[in-house]
């Protein structure tokens, strides 16, 4: 049990608990000589118990006031899930519909809106997964590290519907996503045990040529650790797809057909890779459901036990001690004549 207090300075009052050991709440009476009474172990014990009760009451009140609580803990459990970095293309074309037009009020939703809707469902339904978010357009952007903060992840997914930027620099984006996994592997060392599956879900509506240098760096980076790669390609009408074979008149080069060549590059990476080419909002949902099925490997996850307030318990203990003291007080009887002085009679001499 990890106990803690919210206001440590209140504990400075704790020495007050000594007071009842020095003085008693029981009525004291003048008596000619104590030698007249025999030493009585029971009386001594009761006296001590009552003084202790007082001490406990004061100590419990101080602890309650200081905000005694049990610290939040996390327990390691085994479940199904994965560490997933969502990598978003934030190019301006993502804000268009699958037909390549600006979304209208009543009409079709934009690609980013469809992606946002299904990915939010995905994140919400995956109980134990940890998510990180990265984005790219002209340059890679670090949005959020891998964490189990669902709300933060959802906030970052919401942002993909905000207007995007100009270009699609897939290579640097992937490098960013990989480096986020690296950072996470380092920071969760020991807890993760390397059994959890790690995945990158790339959501884009276009592809670009990754230059030779960056390609080599990516190949090396993917070789270093097992990362499953999923590419949800949001294909705009009349644009090239990732599975298109070059026609007799087409030149089969990365510059002419960047989507196809990026797909080939991913396939040659020798990592588990699945591509989804989707052409309408419903298909985004199917792709996300497929990933949901594939990413089910055992993983250790932390279940958080929230901090528990124990000040109530402290107050209850204080109340119980006080109750016993009050009962003891009620059991008092007067042995001297002073009792006949009337109300406050026995107290007045003190003032």
């Amino acid at each position: 049990m990890n106990l803690a207090v919210s206001h440590p300075f209140v504990l400075l009052l704790l020495p007050l608990a000594v007071l009842p050991l020095l003085a008693t709440a029981q009525d004291t009476e003048d008596y000619p000589s104590l030698h007249a009474a025999k030493s009585d172990p029971l009386s001594v014990a009761i006296d001590l118990a009552l003084r202790l009760m007082g001490a406990i009451a004061i100590a419990a009140l101080v602890l309650g006031l200081a905000g005694l609580h049990r610290l939040g803990q996390s327990i390691e459990r085994l479940g199904e899930g994965a560490n997933i970095v969502l990598l978003f293309d934030r190019s301006a074309s993502m804000n268009d519909t699958f037909a390549g037009q600006a979304p209208t009020q009543s009409g079709e939703e934009s690609k980013s809106a469809a992606a946002r809707r299904f990915l939010k469902q995905f994140v919400t339904s995956r109980e134990h997964d940890r998510f990180g978010i990265a984005a790219f357009s002209t340059s890679p952007m670090y949005v959020m590290p891998l964490s189990d903060h669902k709300e933060a992840t959802l906030g970052a997914i919401d942002a993909i519907e905000q207007p995007g930027l100009a270009l699609t620099n897939v290579g640097k984006g992937l490098a960013m996503a990989l480096s986020m996994h690296d950072a996470d592997i380092l920071s969760t060392q020991g807890t993760d045990g390397g059994i959890a599956s790690r995945a990158i879900v790339l959501v884009s509506d276009g592809a670009a040529v990754i230059n030779r240098k960056v390609q080599q760096k990516l190949e090396a980076a993917f070789l270093k650790r097992p990362v499953n790669l999923y590419w949800i390609f949001l294909r705009t009408e009349n644009s090239r797809g990732i599975f298109d074979k070059p026609g007799p008149d087409d030149t089969d080069t990365p510059f002419a057909m960047p989507e196809r060549h990026l797909h080939l590059f991913f396939e040659n990476l020798k990592i588990p890779y699945t591509a989804f080419e989707v052409e309408n909002p419903a298909a985004v949902g199917e792709a996300v459901a497929a990933i949901d099925k594939l990413e089910r490997r055992p993983m250790r996850y932390e279940e958080r036990i929230p901090q528990k307030d124990l000040s109530g318990v402290a107050y209850a203990v204080a109340g119980l001690s006080l109750l016993l003291l009050v009962i003891a007080k009620l059991a008092e009887v007067k042995v001297s004549r002073l009792a006949s002085r009337g109300v406050w009679g026995s107290v007045l001499p003190c003032f």
Partner: protein, 332 residues
């Protein structure tokens, strides 16, 4: 029969203390309303923000580093249930990294996201700050948030002679702060190579010293080498010190008054939070408040009187009176 205890102050002290503690345990939790804030912060990540002309913890630091540090503390200072979102500014518009999320539950994620801000995220080299602020206001409005905009006010390319573009929105509709970051003295801008490594300072010829888009200024015809068609701005080399940078407070104050924001200079995080709370629209949130400490504190006070104050009085009184002997034991 009246119990003797009823005649005694001590009994009543004990009984009242017991009653207070029990009352505290039985009373329901009181719901109080508290202010929370919804914030959308945009950080200028153009290269002028890399200028190391401010200090952080006594060490020279870049404007961006200072901004990140203060912004983290700002978020830490926001009351729970406030929301915070983060975005970037470069070129002529802002870019939202994540929409406002609750600050207490997601603090570590927000903190890491702020740490992750980097000038390399910039997508273009230009820095049309006026345009960026004009763009940030409707974005914040769409997210029902108040605005924080951190910048050094260094426009690149410089504003045309006609001054700032007009603000098309309604000034003051979105309250917020325009936060100025940087030093007063002009210092050179840093130069970077293709891989983003710093390689010295920019020279006067490395940047546009004058905005030459649009109409030439009316006095252009008096400039040396002026030609209405071939050199409408004159052909002299000019040096407006645009390769040097400092916090452009006058420009930011003008921009703030144009858009209805409030300009503040970045100092401590606490000052920033207070300035923000002064202008922001608070949202009332209901929080369950623990009122048990009040009766408990009162009970504690009574016990201290009972066990500390009364015996002390008694002892002081007893010194003058004939010696009193305590009869041990509660009851014979």
């Amino acid at each position: 029969m009246i119990r003797p205890a009823f005649h005694e102050l001590r009994f009543w002290l004990l009984a009242t203390a017991l009653l207070l503690v029990v009352a505290g345990l039985v009373l329901p939790r009181v719901k109080l309303t508290r202010d929370a804030y919804d914030t959308m912060a945009f950080v200028d990540i153009t290269s002028s923000m890399n200028t190391r002309d401010v200090s952080l913890d006594g060490q020279p630091a870049s404007r961006l580093d200072l901004t990140k540090d203060r912004l983290k503390r700002f978020v830490a200072g926001l009351p729970c249930q406030s929301k915070f979102g983060l975005g970037l500014f470069t070129a002529r518009r802002v870019f939202v990294l994540f929409e406002p999320v609750e600050v207490c539950e997601n603090f570590s994620s927000i903190d890491a996201a702020i740490s992750g801000l980097d000038w390399r995220m910039a997508w273009e080299g230009d820095s049309f700050i006026t345009g960026g602020v004009h763009n940030a206001i409707p974005v914040a409005e769409g997210l029902d948030s108040d605005l924080l905009f951190f910048t050094d006010g260094h426009e690149a390319p410089p504003l045309p002679w006609t001054g700032m573009p007009d603000f098309e929105g309604e000034p003051g509709k979105v309250p917020g702060l325009l936060v100025g970051v940087g030093g007063n003295a002009l210092v050179p801008l840093k130069k970077y190579d293709d891989a983003g490594r710093e390689i010295g300072d920019l020279g006067a010829d490395d940047v546009l010293q004058e905005n030459r888009s649009g109409q030439p200024p009316p006095d252009a015809s008096s400039r040396p080498g002026w030609h209405p068609k071939w050199a409408p701005f004159g052909d002299m080399r000019i040096n407006n010190n645009e390769h040097m940078t400092s916090l452009k407070e006058d420009h930011l104050k003008a921009l703030a008054s144009q858009t209805g924001l409030v300009y503040v200079r970045l100092n401590g995080a606490g000052a920033l939070l207070r300035a923000f709370e002064a202008v922001a629209r608070p949202r009332s949130v209901v929080v369950a408040t623990d009122i048990r400490p009040y009766p408990a504190a009162l009970a504690l006070l009574l016990l201290v009187i009972l066990y500390g104050f009364l015996p002390l009085r008694e002892r002081v009184a007893g010194r003058s009176a004939p010696s009193r002997t305590e009869l041990k034991g509660a009851h014979p």
